[in-house]
Symmetry: C2
């Protein structure tokens, strides 16, 4: 496998070099998530998990690395992006590239116990790709997968997977979206009837897959370069530029040439049956039957699909806008400078790539069998599967933009225990302990004698709604004060109300219930 | 760094070799989690998260790998256990060994925004250790960390960390436990007054740390081997074999020799102050002030602690039992065989290691500064920290044993939509869709014409409490039947009750509320 181009050396300032021997950063293409980020991410995961569980999903966990041989030959041209662990005197391992292959490996190992399974998994995967951080394209990123494994009637689980995807994207509120859908057998049938030599099926398929990123003329040029006749390429063009819905299925059925291919016919049958189920599930309007969708992965055997966001700019749109801009610059005589700037663009910082697909998946009926081999009688241990993977980092980017700069309460703290006067540290500790025992999230300042204003500031900054305020006089009478920190009340009310110490938990519980 | 001994080759049966070119397994020391496992693990994480959040914790996420240089020199003798990524033409990276060093790196990068922080993180870490799977010692495992960063008054956050640990272990219901506690400065003070040469402090400390695994005589032998005088070792022995509570602090204060050491005095002051706070927080009875606790990691600077389970056998107990058994075998003339068996023991399968420590932590005031360097004025960018890490795989092993073989409902499905008679697939789909839209977890069989008994069997196996049963006659009248699948009722009642289709959701919601 050819290695990707070596990365540029990190630029270090002279000061950095002198001060410390290392660069203080996360590895290229990775990032930290702050508490505010995590609050958003957890809410995204909770939404997705709720939908997955609503459809009967159970979850599993697999190791973050697999034996290298498990991942070999599963990802086509993208295999070069797999991270390998160093050989430190044991097994050769690689970081997982997706969650699908590990799931298939799990089924192959445990097929007796799980001949059928609806499993979801939300976990990180790893790809040595060129990162585009602000668009959510990273080297370490989460995938949220739902897959249905088992021998079932045609297109029934496939239809539910698409319904789940529609539900997830709708509930995440990411804006308008569309699911492009195609069928590997139909695509192969098209290649067959157009006269593509069998050994060119996958290379030509990979050219077709670029139709969302470049115009047909360029895709055709790539086909010719890969050794295809121009006439055959043109014939392919008459198919792969078509998209629609059920009516396109009907039109293709009328195509006498196409229907001669058994593969094309089988694919069309599947898509036609699928649409009847999608109608029942009420999601047909979200689907675009698109003959240009090909998908790169080796393991798909039937239906394939990909969800795109309609309110985000696509790569094609962004590139077109860029080209327009450069043309305008050229006209105004600034061409040289503009072109130089374009060349020095580090791909790392190239944000001109659109958010593109936000979820993708398909049917892979042979993958488990590749691992499980055959029974003693020579029958393949196949478990057919269909699934979808939601790229949640992209969802995260979209929702983060939507959320804007509004402050986020990342902690769960409801009560701040503070003191006026002489610090009263053991007393504050004892009150906090009482609250914790009642299940109430509470904090206090880790200082023997904190200033009152400093304690108020924490409530503001951390958005803590209630305070318990201790004072020597009240304590002597067995009282504490409870104060609502949200209401910026002045005068007498600002001091809070005094309650008996043994009524404190009840009073706070009452107030929290109506917060 | 010396590499660990190369692993034995996987034994493959001849059949395996012929059938497929690879071994179908997860990498050594890693494992898959089944849906039933995940149900238990999620409940453990939920409990821990609830406690962490109750104490004001917020969470962050860091990449699973760090720049190799970030991890260098942080883990003492254990650095050889770090997993490196292969050099594929970019930065040199390693899988994280714990969550503490990445947290310190995060604080060093973001200290301006987070000069103080209570952060928790539940995530996987990686160590190329000898696995002991059934005891929960793996190469990939979860740690659940809570750390308090910031400049605070002595021992206040330290006391809360210990209270959090007591709360977590109590709520997890893992059985009786004890937290051993010591102080690095006190230990160094002991070495100082006993006359240990400074360059032997860490090697001797590492010998002391083995006192829970071997008798004092063996620990002493290791000390002599490391170049220590027997007289000095004996003097150390008079200290490190002592454990107790507050009264031990008082006794050590009376020790005129010890108190000459400024370090020992500072350590004792800390421990004394800590106990006053632990008394307020009501956890003193869970603490054993134990002068033999040393902990291996380089980065601890003050308080150190380790929680052990009292109802699990310790390594020392198991080894003693093993020795007894071998002695008995030797006496009966089977010595040779027994000894041969012991030698051929693969460490991978060696279950004679006790569960040992279930959580550990300490204070590390210098680690952030090692990353953050100094300000322009030459002041160290220090952020003092104290934290604890709960080893949840060990908790998992204990709770799994406790749970036993009781069946676990891993899915959330509440309703199974089934048909009598002619399959009614689109109708079942439509009903399921109606339930999903109402937020009710529902499934149906992915077959056009499923057998009734097969559908009932799914309800049994998946523990689905309610069924909606469709039949041609009821459908014609706009009715569906709702049946409680838990009650094994016979006769008329077994058919369920018929409700109008548009009252179905309300009826099911009502039934689920009282389930």
């Amino acid at each position: 496998t050819p290695a990707p181009a070596p990365e540029k050396k990190e630029r270090k300032s002279k000061k950095d070099k002198d001060d410390k021997k290392f660069t203080l950063k996360t590895p290229k293409g990775t990032t930290d998530f702050t508490p505010a980020d995590m609050a958003l991410r957890d809410s995204i995961f909770a939404t997705i998990t709720r939908v997955f569980q609503k459809h009967g999903g159970v979850t599993i966990d697999t190791p973050v690395f697999e034996l290298k041989e498990i991942l070999s030959g599963k990802y086509g041209e993208d295999s070069k992006l797999i991270y390998d662990l160093q050989d430190q005197g044991g097994e050769l391992c690689s970081l997982r590239y997706d969650l699908t292959v590990p799931f298939a490996r799990f089924l192959a190992m445990n097929g007796k116990q799980y001949p059928a399974m609806k499993r979801y998994q939300i976990a990180k995967v790893y790809r040595r790709d060129q990162p585009a951080m602000t668009k959510g394209r990273r080297r370490e990123f989460y995938q949220c997968d739902f897959d249905i494994a088992g021998q079932y009637d045609d297109m029934v689980p496939d239809a539910e997977i698409l319904a789940i995807l529609v539900e997830v994207l709708t509930e995440l509120d990411v804006g308008r979206f569309l699911i492009k859908l195609n069928h590997r057998a139909l695509l192969d049938g098209v290649f067959e009837v157009c006269g593509v030599p069998t050994d060119l099926f996958r290379p030509i398929s990979s050219a077709v897959d670029k139709m969302d990123k470049m115009p047909w003329a360029e895709v055709k040029a790539e086909m010719l370069q890969k050794g295809l006749d121009a006439a055959i390429a043109d014939r392919i063009g008459t198919y792969v530029q078509r998209k629609g819905s059920k009516e396109l299925v009907a039109q293709l059925r009328e195509d006498a040439d196409l229907i001669k291919s058994e593969r094309a016919k089988a694919g069309l049958n599947d898509v036609e049956l699928l649409f009847t189920y999608l109608d029942v599930l009420g999601v047909t309007d979200k689907i675009s039957f698109d003959l240009s969708l090909a998908r790169g992965l080796d393991y798909y055997t039937g239906l394939i699909y990909e969800a795109i966001l309609l309110d985000e700019l696509t790569t094609a749109q962004i590139l077109a806008a860029k080209a327009d801009k450069e043309k305008a610059l050229a006209a105004s005589g600034k061409a040289k400078k503009a072109s130089a700037a374009a060349t020095s663009d580090d791909a790392d910082n190239d944000e001109s790539v659109g958010i593109g697909s936000i979820a993708a998946g398909g049917r892979y009926d042979e993958l488990v069998g590749m691992f499980a081999g055959t029974t003693k009688k020579g029958v393949a241990n196949k478990i057919p599967c269909v699934g979808v993977s939601v790229g949640v980092e992209r969802v995260f980017s979209v929702l983060q933009k939507k959320r804007g700069a509004a402050p986020v309460k990342a902690n769960a703290t409801q009560v701040y225990v503070m003191a006026v006067g002489d610090g009263l540290l053991p007393e504050r500790m004892a009150v906090a302990k009482q609250l914790w025992e009642a299940g109430i999230p509470a904090e206090f300042m880790y200082k023997a004698k904190p200033k009152l204003q400093a304690q108020f500031n924490v409530c503001d900054k951390e958005q803590i709604p209630l305070a318990v305020i201790l004072g020597p006089d009240e304590l002597a009478q067995g009282l504490v004060k409870i104060k609502d920190m949200r209401a910026k009340v002045e005068g007498e009310a600002s001091a809070g109300v005094a309650v008996k110490r043994d009524e404190m938990v009840a009073e706070i519980t009452k107030r929290l219930a109506v917060l």
